[in-house]
Amino acid sequence: MDEAQRRQEHFQDEHVTTLHPNYMGVFWWLLALTILELLVGSMPTGPAYPHTAKVLMLVSMAVGKAALVALYFMHLRFEVRTLGIIALTPMILCVFFLFMLMPDSANR
């Protein structure tokens, strides 16, 4: 028996029952958001439907889908908070990098 198996059995002695989240419910949400994204993305922009509004809606839906995958499929919702901070740190840094690059891009 290797170390990983010993640790897991030790863990499972205290957590006998494994409850599974509603994975199919998450799947239907992801599917619905993907279809909605395709609809929003394919609509032509104009004065009544500005490009900024389209981008905001698409990014919000993408972030929502990513959050569903991280929280339920990757079980982040059921983990300790520190693990969530580890996962969230690169996202915050990336947004920071993007905004740091914007002035440079605008002046090219």
Binding site: A4, R7, S42, L58, A66, V69, F73, C94, D104
Partner: protein
């Protein structure tokens, strides 16, 4: 070492981890994924910055096949579901069901790669390259191939990883009390799905 110190040292549970009590590999995978997310974040940030600063950036929806990419996205979402189902199966002690779902996940990954290869071939024939773009800014080709290619490499790596775990599963390595490797694999595969959700939005739809 004094007897008291020796007793005190022995009292420490060497198998205890405050973040992921069930396995160290899970913590290691999370740290790896955090680093990997920075790589993808850098690529997407570069894409955003180049696009923002370019006056003749093509409208992605008009040059890229959105319907096929939508199907690819659907495939990866389905493969994520089969992956969690595989983990749930082995947590319930059903090794055969786990192997079936892992097989379906591999099938989803391979189909995704085939579709991506088809899309790339089509775009290259249209004239899109690493430094050329018939529809406008040349950086479009660079960022498109770098971002989707880097993700494709991750999918290929995931398919190899999945196949390894499936072979071990078929040999009876995993059971109701030993599934941490399947969970760690699942984290990697879901990350690949999560990144594609963002790539799909930023590169294809926005």
């Amino acid at each position: 070492m004094s007897q008291a110190a020796a007793v005190g040292h022995a009292a420490v549970d060497t198998y205890e981890s405050p973040l992921t009590p069930e396995s160290w590999s899970k913590l290691a995978m999370w740290i790896f994924l955090a680093g990997d997310a920075m790589s993808f974040g850098g690529l997407l940030a570069a894409y955003g910055a180049l696009r923002y600063g370019s006056p003749n950036w093509p409208v992605p929806m008009s040059v890229l096949g959105i319907f096929m990419t939508g199907v690819m996205t659907f495939l990866l979402i389905c493969s994520s579901v089969t992956m969690v189902k595989a983990l749930a199966a082995i947590q319930d002690g059903d090794s055969r069901r786990m192997c079936m779902f892992l097989g379906l996940t591999i099938l989803g990954g391979i189909t995704f790669l085939v579709m991506q290869a088809f899309e790339w071939t089509h775009l290259i024939h249209e004239g899109l390259g690493l430094s050329q773009n018939p529809w406008g800014a040349s950086q479009f080709g660079t960022t498109f191939f770098m971002t989707t290619g880097f993700h494709g490499c991750h999918v290929f790596g995931g398919v190899c990883y999945l196949t390894t775990i499936l072979i071990q599963g078929l040999r009876g390595k995993y059971s109701r009390t030993n599934w941490s490797s399947v969970e760690t694999l699942g984290l990697y595969w879901h990350f690949v799905d999560l990144v594609w959700i963002l790539v799909f939005t930023f590169v294809y739809l926005v």
